[in-house]
Subunit: 298 residues, 2 copies
């Protein structure tokens, strides 16, 4: 699983920084989270193939999180897409798209409307699932959580041979079953397999005020993206506008016992982003700036 | 008068090229023509100050000509704009803006809806006027024409002194009047003034099929922007999609006896743009590519 940052600025583009968009790559399936203006240009620039995207998630109906969507959807059709597209978004987004693209596209869009305050599973595949959870902004807003499912156990070839386990049973071993000989003798699963890699979790929490309410949703994840529109000197502005400071994001990361924090959605007030790191790191050391074009492997 | 190219590609952004947008600068008043996705980022990149824009013209309701508009309008408000904005556009644009920006902005937008097939004067100021004229695309589309008004005559100081013309009459001399002494003797205007610079005209014609119908509108202008989505090898596609080839644009320029042609709205089929020039120049020598960031002085 890896995350590419396409846009990391807040509403007003500034200093070459574009509004919010990220792509999560899970085994070459791409998932787009938010789609600010210029997202499709950034995708081209960073060599992200839009035809590998089947699922798009829009956190909330503020322009800097969706204004690139109509262009992207239109471009997908112009490029000859026929495969269905799944769009998880507030219900207003459908009206906005249909007003501007009233004609038939070359493919079908399936809408799933996110409900205010509701956590639910949006995508459930064999190897991973994607959930949404409420965050706390000036309009109904959701965060998204990518969870790899528990990895299967890994076979130990030498032990399989020593215990003469028949091949037809290998798949059940990876699921954790013991093997029983026709004689009734039991071969314990852990004698012939070892644990798979631990499951990985990525959480995307934007936009939100400082909200300890989200800690259960993001707790112990491997990577958390949390918005930091401001630093503490603009703490009041952050509160008024339902945004967070770098200190607040780091506090959530620390309290949530996560492994790594990336921060973005920077206000156009800030040309230099170093103050965000300076403020976050004393509270949560493993913090990085979510710079555009960066790829975070999980 | 000068024109800055902000975007020169057709619907599908490609090779770093953005969709259509141009800014015309007349004595530091800026006029935006079309506003494709990413227009506000390009403006920042090329140091175009959006607060100097009071008039925006949208040629037609195709996404690659307006998808940057909601973001730009929103950003203008975020930056504290209070001055009115004048928007000349097809009527559908108003609905698109109001659906996405349903709250009060910090300033007022005055809409003037362009009517299918109608030529009219949109802006009429002391030193210039801006007209629209129909072009011929798959949906109702207008071109725009910037005309400097006839320059006033220029005073010749030595002659004014020799003829002892009183100062209060100088302004009327620049308007072309003769001066009459109290004795009845007439001083011809051309004895004390000389001709001003010739008036300059810029025409923007996008998107359009090959349309000799527009020649009267663009005839003898100093600079014409004409779309060239394709080269002649895609002549059929151009016809089907109501677009033009480089040869066709050059033919319009030649027949219209204009001074200089710039071409753009290139299809994403073309990485190399040299073939457009190779095709246009044998027909109309003074042709240039409208590359993004280029500034054409008129």
């Amino acid at each position: 699983m890896k995350v590419t940052i396409l846009g990391n600025n807040s509403a007003l583009p500034a200093f070459g920084r574009y509004p919010t968009a990220q792509v999560v790559d899970i085994n070459e399936q791409l998932f787009l989270m938010d789609c600010g203006e210029g997202c499709q240009m950034r995708m081209q620039q960073f060599n992200i193939k839009s035809d590998k995207i089947n699922h798009i998630f829009i956190s909330h109906v503020h322009g800097d999180h969706y204004l690139g969507l109509v262009g992207l959807i239109s471009s997908m059709s112009l490029k000859g897409r026929e495969r269905d597209l799944y769009l998880y978004c507030p219900k207003e987004i459908k009206k906005i798209i249909e007003l501007q693209l009233p004609f038939a596209l070359g493919y079908t869009i399936h809408y799933h409307f996110l409900e205010e305050g509701k956590a639910e599973t949006l995508v459930n595949q064999e190897k991973f699932q994607i959930d949404c959870f409420p965050v706390y902004h000036s309009v109904p807003t959701h965060g998204f959580k990518f969870t790899e499912k528990k990895r299967k156990r890994v076979l130990v070839p030498n032990n399989l041979r020593d215990y003469e386990i028949p091949k037809y049973f290998y798949k059940r071993l990876t699921d954790g079953e013991d093997y029983t000989y026709p004689t009734g003798e039991i071969i314990k699963n852990e004698w012939v397999t070892q644990a798979g890699l631990p499951q990985k979790v990525y959480c995307f929490a934007a936009d939100t005020r400082f909200a300890p309410e989200i800690i259960p949703d993001i707790a112990e994840c491997d990577l958390l993206y949390h918005e930091t529109t401001y630093t503490e000197e603009n703490n009041e502005k952050a509160t008024q506008r339902f945004h967070s400071t770098a200190k607040q994001a780091a506090t959530i990361a620390f309290e949530g016992k996560i492994k790594k924090l990336i921060i973005g959605h920077f206000s156009s007030k800030y040309k230099d982003l170093q103050p965000f790191l300076n403020e976050a790191k004393p509270i949560f050391e493993h913090t990085e700036l979510a710079l555009e074009g960066m790829v975070f492997e999980i």
